[in-house]
Symmetry: C2
Subunit: 310 residues, 2 copies
Amino acid sequence: SKNGGKTKPPPVMRYNLNNVTITHNPVENRENVLILTPMARFYQEYWDNLMKLSYPHELITLGFILPKNKEGNAATSELQKQIAKTQTSGPEKARFNSIIILRQEFDPPISSQDEVERHKMQNQRARRAAMAKARNSLLFTTLGPAVSWVLWLDADIIETPPTLIQDLALHDKPLIAPNCFQRYYNTETKKMDERPYDFNNWQDSPTAQQLGEKMGPDEILLEGYQDMPTYRSLMAFMYKPDEDKHTEVPLDGVGGTALLVKADVHRDGAMFPAFPFYHLIETEGFAKMAKRLGWQATGLPNYKVYHYNE
Amino acid sequence: SKNGGKTKPPPVMRYNLNNVTITHNPVENRENVLILTPMARFYQEYWDNLMKLSYPHELITLGFILPKNKEGNAATSELQKQIAKTQTSGPEKARFNSIIILRQEFDPPISSQDEVERHKMQNQRARRAAMAKARNSLLFTTLGPAVSWVLWLDADIIETPPTLIQDLALHDKPLIAPNCFQRYYNTETKKMDERPYDFNNWQDSPTAQQLGEKMGPDEILLEGYQDMPTYRSLMAFMYKPDEDKHTEVPLDGVGGTALLVKADVHRDGAMFPAFPFYHLIETEGFAKMAKRLGWQATGLPNYKVYHYNE
Ligand SMILES: Nc1nc2c(ncn2[C@@H]2O[C@H](COP(=O)(O)OP(=O)(O)O)[C@@H](O)[C@H]2O)c(=O)[nH]1
Ligand SMILES: Nc1nc2c(ncn2[C@@H]2O[C@H](COP(=O)(O)OP(=O)(O)O)[C@@H](O)[C@H]2O)c(=O)[nH]1
Ligand SMILES: [Mn+2]
Ligand SMILES: [Mn+2]
């Protein structure tokens, strides 16, 4: 490229991956965080919560992937409105380091409205495979050499502690998931209440293992379906109100609602399988793949984040 | 960041992944190619061959990963010398779009880079697992949203047709591998001769399938070892001197010496497993993983590239 008549040499970038630290004190060590969000709909509450994160915004890169359909177009324009506000006219402190927005068409998972329960599970499989590919596209396309941490945060996570990143990083774990709940109006007590939401954070069970062993190589285990009881221990039900927020439990499957991952886990090759991997797909398959690469997932049953209630 | 007293808004990048074309005519369509090379040693012949590639250099990004050891340091400084020459003082037409150099420490599986030591079967698994992680680090860290094609090219590939990228892309295949040979001095004929080199490009066999079925989940199949005959059909031996250079064969396993991959294959999640995946690892496991994602590998038995002879 030309630069005032003089030729500017193209950029050569050198990175020593060993110098990119990944520590339990990422603020002090100025570690870069990549927040990745697959987004089908835009919720103002998601953006407001994101803005309130106290991790230095200049160390945060945001990456979004939105589907190339009508709903995705609407979400993209709402997202861009908020981004423009933050990055241009808002206070400098609130601005993020950089923002990448990807648009992508997927084969829409086959819809079959009036099918029996079994078919709903089959729809779930196509949907999770499409989600896995969306997450991989986002990950492979945005993860640069300077990133220390990847925070997966779904677009419908509308409430977290502002110190979410620092709190999770403090545990110094390769993969760590808070417990995802949902607020709702309890018609019995006539009060606002809350209930467990994300059932993909779990510890394996002998029953699930045996189910897997009897399956063909292309079949998958799904969590949260009455037809296929797995007797796994779900983190969603491990929450204890009066106990330490930082209590850790090992996990064999993880969800994607909120999940902090050391960038090296992804760099070693851990991704979201869109095919059955040990009878698991997407985020649950990711936890298994990380494990195969030597990285153990951890959950924090008493550390809560909240999912939107439609 | 400050810009002459005025605050410059941080960059927001929008990409429509559906607009990044991947076609059989990539030059005309101005498609970006990412050439990825894991490099333990620097060979001048590799660089000279790279420079001769006729694909427009301004559409090429180079990515290297070198080990953080004495040999890797030496290779890095030789590489940087050549890069400086090309990107700064050489003709503008020869310059590449951008260049990324990564340095990384792995647990060195074997101390010696000696070919005999490298190829010993008991050393292969740890070595190939380390190579898989190196390839993944390089891939996950350099693949941006604007890339159409990824050319995997080993650092000891010293001779290819200058039209390599165009010739391979013309086939419009998700993964396509030329046939990797090696020149040597034939002591019988007392003339320079050539022989097949890369045995990782193969078509599966019933024997290999049966071997796999009898194996434990953590065991791997390796190709090219007398101790473990697989009776796979190796592309290395399919070369026919007088036949069409563009003859295609389907492949079940691929090598990494030279391999052109549509970027979408990687974006869907296909990577180099460092763990046994259907009893395969690294590039061979990659072909299988691509297949699980719906992408079939192709080989060109009569299209030759050449490996260095130590
Ligand atoms: N890019 C993309 N994101 C999606 C798509 N479908 C859902 N999402 C997002 O992916 C995340 C998980 O999906 P969601 O439907 O909330 O899953 P659930 O909460 O498990 O029912 C959310 O952030 C969604 O906004 C899609 O087709 N494309
Ligand atoms: N980054 C990195 N590259 C390596 C390492 N070992 C080998 N390579 C490179 O990886 C490629 C394949 O390795 P090589 O030893 O040539 O494999 P072979 O030809 O199958 O015996 C070559 O480009 C090597 O220069 C390593 O430890 N780190
Ligand atoms: Mn959701
Ligand atoms: Mn080699």
